[in-house]
Symmetry: C2
Subunit: 335 residues, 2 copies
């Protein structure tokens, strides 16, 4: 375990694709803690698509990263010093902390996690924000029901892989797409998707969807956007729901891309297109953690991680994730 | 009253804008009626934006018009012969009937209306499908609440003018746009809109909306699409609702136009974009008729019609309505 603190700070804002030059890897002090604060040794750090938006200087649901400041991420760590009665030395916690080895926190937004229930890194993925996002989106927003057809894009990703498995547990006909053949095989052979395809080699996505979803799509859990969202829109059933979770296809656009062609179908087929943020639904999120721990134990939920080693590898892990090079949830191991 | 029947039939499908050449005005037999049927003398005929979609040979929520067949419309008429126990000679009715002077019906979808409650033509507008559409969209889909900001496009139209007035009755801050200065004046001076603007002369619509809706738009009742929808999207408040009622800007497109730029805002601001068809919500529609008759009586609801005279004028009235040349609800008087 390092005796020093290291941090990754935002050096410059990317234009288009993120590059390693946008990050600074620097040595820093291990912070002192004051009254009510805790010192956390960070163990795992999560890199997620939404962070790309925070690198732009634009208002959003969370404020943008500032140049020269430490980047933020979902982090699992261990309390090593505590002046806060809610946390004891040795507690494992998850929260929004820095891309750094040691973080100081006043405990707000920090949640204790149980290391005996699942490996600690799971709290950044299937038992963390991505898993909760899948559950909230599929239930509160998508209202997925037994017998319905569910289509999920980026289906082997941190959120998508949970969406598809939950859809299966709920009794949906589950179709997914991913961008590599091994990911597609993983969806059907390991995660129990009914059908899956490689959107890069499938030809016209809307025709492929028409083939795999002959009764139409009732719930589209959308993580990608662009051509895939348009293809899904064209294949929606009457009264279908498009759960807008992410639009990763556009995160590196320098100019705003137009939306899908065929907006008129939203009227004709009485569709609902709804965006959501998991933080608005934390009650449901906690309900999910309870259920998911059980489903993991009895094998109904499976989980796959890509683990990068070392804080200095975090920028590359983040960039690779944006390009779809990871397989399953991308985390960075810090010790 | 004509002793003969006349009809307007679809002669050819329009490419792009509809033209008079797409219609045939022909003499026809006054139909005989069989068991359970009624013969109706049609008095008023409604021309509406959705009809443009039915002129294309494309599947939608109602089947396309067929070449050589009589066009269909909302019609108010009077029963002049009845073999159906539900309707007596002399009854006034509204229903989907032909662009013709005499129609035969088996009574399905036919509704009796009360000529003492309001002028008969009102059942094609403020007391008919357009009014019900406004109410259903604003309540069931838009969930408009007191104190919220409502923006409605095509605000002087058959649906929009009711939407804005209902918004006022519900206690919303109501902003509307229209395509002519006299229409804009009508919105604020007669219909009680809080603010209104001419989208053709206002410069960039999204800036105008930012000025008139400083707290953001909570409910966008969208009748137009294109640049106006995009501008509304950019000005939505968190948890806002976009009620997709019509996209008249696109009805004459030969190629599918792209959707609005800024789809990512749907996620960031947790928006809901929902399409609907009034026929799915007829209970609410009937609830509306009851309320609206009262509001009309006590002056809370106002109504303006454009009346074309004669069946042969119906194609031109329809085309003019698509181009925004009408002022208020466009109907055609048939006798």
């Amino acid at each position: 375990m390092s005796e020093k603190n290291y941090q990754i700070r935002l050096k410059s804002r990317p234009k288009g694709w993120v590059s390693p030059e946008n990050f600074d890897y620097v040595e820093a002090e291990i912070p002192d803690i004051g009254d009510g604060q805790v010192l956390i040794r960070n163990l795992y750090l999560s890199v997620d698509p939404y962070m790309r938006g925070r690198m732009n200087d634009a208002p959003s649901y969370i404020p943008p990263f500032q140049i020269g400041e430490v980047l933020e991420a979902g982090v699992v760590g261990q309390v090593i010093k505590s002046n806060n009665p809610k946390f004891a030395q040795g507690d494992h916690v998850v929260g929004m902390l820095g891309w750094e080895l040691y973080s100081r926190s006043d405990g707000s937004g920090l949640m204790k996690v149980d290391p005996s229930l699942a490996p600690l890194s799971y709290y950044l993925g299937i038992l963390g924000m991505p898993g909760m996002t899948a559950y909230v989106g599929l239930t509160a927003i998508g209202e997925a029901k037994k017998g319905e057809t569910l289509f999920v894009s980026a289906a082997s990703g941190a959120v998508g892989s949970v969406v598809g498995q939950l859809g299966r547990i709920f009794g949906c006909h589950v179709v997914g797409c991913a961008g590599a053949d091994d990911k597609v095989a993983y969806l059907t052979q390991e995660l129990g998707f009914d059908r899956a395809f490689n959107y890069k080699t499938a030809g016209q996505v809307h025709k492929k969807l028409a083939e795999l979803c002959p009764a139409g799509i009732d719930v589209n859990f959308e993580n990608v956007g662009g051509e895939i969202l348009e293809a899904a829109l064209w294949n929606m059933s009457n009264f279908g729901r498009i759960v807008l979770c992410g639009l990763i296809a556009h995160y590196n656009d320098e100019k705003m891309a137009p939306g899908p062609r065929g907006m008129g179908l939203i009227i004709q087929r009485r569709l609902k297109v709804q965006g959501f943020i998991v933080f608005d639904h934390m009650d449901l999120g906690m309900e999910y953690i309870q259920k998911a721990a059980g489903w993991l134990k009895d094998g109904q939920l499976k989980y796959h991680e890509s683990v990068a080693e070392g804080l200095d590898q975090a920028p590359q892990a983040f960039i690779g994730m944006l390009k779809g090079e990871n397989f399953g949830k991308q985390v960075v191991k810090l010790d």
